[in-house]
Symmetry: C2
Subunit: 431 residues, 2 copies
């Protein structure tokens, strides 16, 4: 039985118990959210690790994409990124390998990762079709489902599947016109395949086959948004919303089969459309967890898209998004290196935490309060320990200040905290 | 006559004309905003430079704080920061020097800066009192007004003056209690001074004297928020709002004397209180331009506060804030170096631009659209030229990719743009 099926029967699984404990919430409340499909526990029983949950009442989670590419096929480098991502606080990693030995890459990542692992099986199916048959168009539905089952069998916890990308939604896209058309890699492969063969998406037409695999292994489906906008001008257009409507229908069908499911979202979205996007997804997909990539709030900042997506991600999460896919400074420019991965994870964690404060996630506000108290007390050790990246705080602090200084070099003897302490007997100063 | 007085008489000054032209708006519309006090042109006629405006209908502006400190008294380093800040897009700099020869530092910055320059005269008055009289408490009102007039005479365009910090608001603060009390440097000096002497703030009690100087030199007053919250837990408390009410009254009095004025705001604010803060300021201060420091949306990210403040700044600006003071990664840890200054300016510029898109600022959306078109066309030269930091984009692009590659190493031959172009004849592809 899947976590969803067990929750519906009122069974609190060991995974639910672990998640509830880690989040400081009641197991019964989590069980209710899982039973309603409003939270998922992507936990493939094949692989033993600590379970984590995504969705209602839980802390906003962060995913880091790693994986080889044609130009960088070395898995060892990706394993370093895995380690850095997890150390920086990533709650999940996705292996998006398309270069070198893809099976080996995934197995190594599954073996090493202490956090949940997701994949996009379509990538491997495409690469294999190119390599063994000379063209990605030669991929068959059986090839694709074969890869999906292989990933499930080997312990992948969740997979991105672009099931809502249909000829109907592509027609709507071409009818309206777009500046950047399709920017999702999986979406572009499928679109090429569908238009070439004049056949609809096998992930849509054979969705029951997908559900059967997902149910068998309790692998969580992450319904991908192949038509997500690739620029602000394309955001929230008819193609995007059409696909979301179809995804809503597929969520319902997944639930009918006891399959855990979440839905992916944009992308590039102007600030004033983000909340509407979240509300729309939550309504059309009946409260299922929402996994957003970004959203990026401007197109013009390559090299800094961890910041553009931290802005969008914070707004999205505050409005109800449950899972943020990181965006690194290398986005739109090349494959991220280890430093980019760290920057990407930290920026997304900041966005997630800022949102958790206003979502009243357990413990979020308390952490900020402790930091404020440490600042008031000029307790640098505590400030460094409480910070999101103690290594970086310490490095800044020690490179810019002498150890013996109570204040910092920005204000020195003109430190407001020090001056005020002499005059204001704050009732909370002793905290 | 000040810009405000001239605007009221219907005179379009050369400065208004320059600002209107730079922003692509009608001079008449700008004149109306200046006349109503909803936009300011901080332009001290003593110093010849290109005028810029802040407020209604204009692009959101960004300020970078520079200046010497006790531990880093070298002005040459600050002049390098000035150059870097301006190159990164800063619309204003504030000289916050408290170390070395403060007068010389300011003069060098005024001489070099192509953008508007602001100061906090209170800092110099405090340092001089300490140096010449042995204690900051020995500062007199005459000392302070002397420094203010000196700054105005030498060409400073705007000054931060904490006029709304009164014994009444400090009483309200102590009555309620706070976690971090007072974190504004100017605010803490004044608080110490007031409590020690049991006298009210001379900037409040002798406000007319301040207005006289401001009017004489057409120096714009930036009414500082000495009681801004220094942590999320203190945000939007009674002390902060009390000070804002007083600032609203002072705005009205400035307008009565024909003095240009803006109001400063927080600080550290949870995401869900930012919009309310902006609305409150705009209402209590009758639409005067709002200059915010951050706001930082979490306390726990020292080393990354350019990101926490980009999140808050974008939300604030989208809600109506007009002027963002940058926050660098060094905030809370020490004096920023040149690299920190650049990171701080770029993060604030991203926030400002993301907000300008949704504020319908002239030209903001168009820039993103051009970038999207360059991406669709895989035109790397245009992408780099259109990006917020072309140097950094180019560095990323060239370090991660071979020159000959059309796509990038993230996707290589699996580039969505390339694949889709073969199948979808997008009507806009030729753009």
């Amino acid at each position: 039985m899947t976590q969803l099926e067990q929750a519906r029967k009122g069974i609190i699984t060991p995974e639910m118990r672990a998640v509830a404990e880690a989040e400081g919430v009641a197991a019964e409340a989590l069980l209710a959210s899982v039973a309603a499909g409003e939270a998922v526990i992507p936990y493939n029983p094949v692989r033993q690790r600590r379970a984590a949950g995504i969705g209602k009442g839980l802390a906003t989670k962060v995913n880091a994409n790693i994986g080889t590419s044609e130009a960088y096929p070395d898995i060892e480098k990706e394993l370093v990124k895995l380690e850095i991502a997890v150390k920086a606080g990533a709650d999940a990693v996705m292996d998006l390998s398309t270069g070198g030995d893809i099976n080996m890459s995934r197995r190594r990542i599954l073996e090493r990762s202490p956090v949940m692992v997701g994949t996009v099986p379509m990538y491997q199916a495409t690469v294999e079709a190119m390599e063994s048959k000379g063209s990605m168009l030669a991929m068959t539905a059986d090839d694709l489902f074969g890869v999906i089952e292989q990933h499930a069998r080997e312990g992948v916890d969740f997979i991105t599947v672009h099931c809502g990308l249909t000829l109907e939604s592509i027609q709507r896209l071409t009818r309206e016109g777009r500046v950047t058309d399709i920017v999702s890699r999986g979406g572009s492969f499928l679109t090429g395949w569908m238009l070439h063969h004049d056949m609809d998406n096998p992930l849509y037409t054979q969705y029951d086959r997908l559900l059967e695999i997902a149910r068998k292994y309790d692998i969580t489906l992450s319904l991908g948004d192949g038509l997500r906008p690739g620029c602000l001008a394309d955001a929230t257009d008819r193609a995007q919303v059409q696909e979301l409507i179809i995804l809503g229908e597929l969520v319902q069908r997944a639930w009918e089969q006891g399959v855990q499911v979440m839905v992916e979202g944009p992308g590039h979205v102007p600030m004033d459309q983000i909340e509407a996007n979240i509300l729309l997804q939550k309504r059309l997909c009946q409260g299922t967890p929402f996994y957003v990539l970004g959203p990026l709030v401007t197109d013009i900042a390559p090299g800094y898209d961890h910041i553009t997506s931290a802005i969008g991600g914070a707004i999205a999460a505050a409005a109800g998004a449950d899972f943020l896919c990181y965006v690194t400074p290398a986005e739109h420019l090349g494959l991220p290196d280890a430093a980019d991965v760290k920057d990407g994870v930290i920026a997304a964690k900041i966005a997630a935490h800022a949102a958790d404060i206003v979502k009243n996630v357990k413990g979020a506000r308390e952490r900020d309060r402790k930091m404020a108290e440490a600042r008031k007390a000029l307790d640098w050790e505590a400030q460094i320990a409480l910070s999101i990246d103690p290594e970086r705080s310490l490095k800044y602090r020690s490179s810019k200040n002498r150890d013996t200084e109570e204040a910092c070099t920005m204000c020195g003897k003109y430190c407001a905290m020090k001056i005020v302490s002499q005059y204001l007997g704050s009732p909370r100063q002793e905290c």
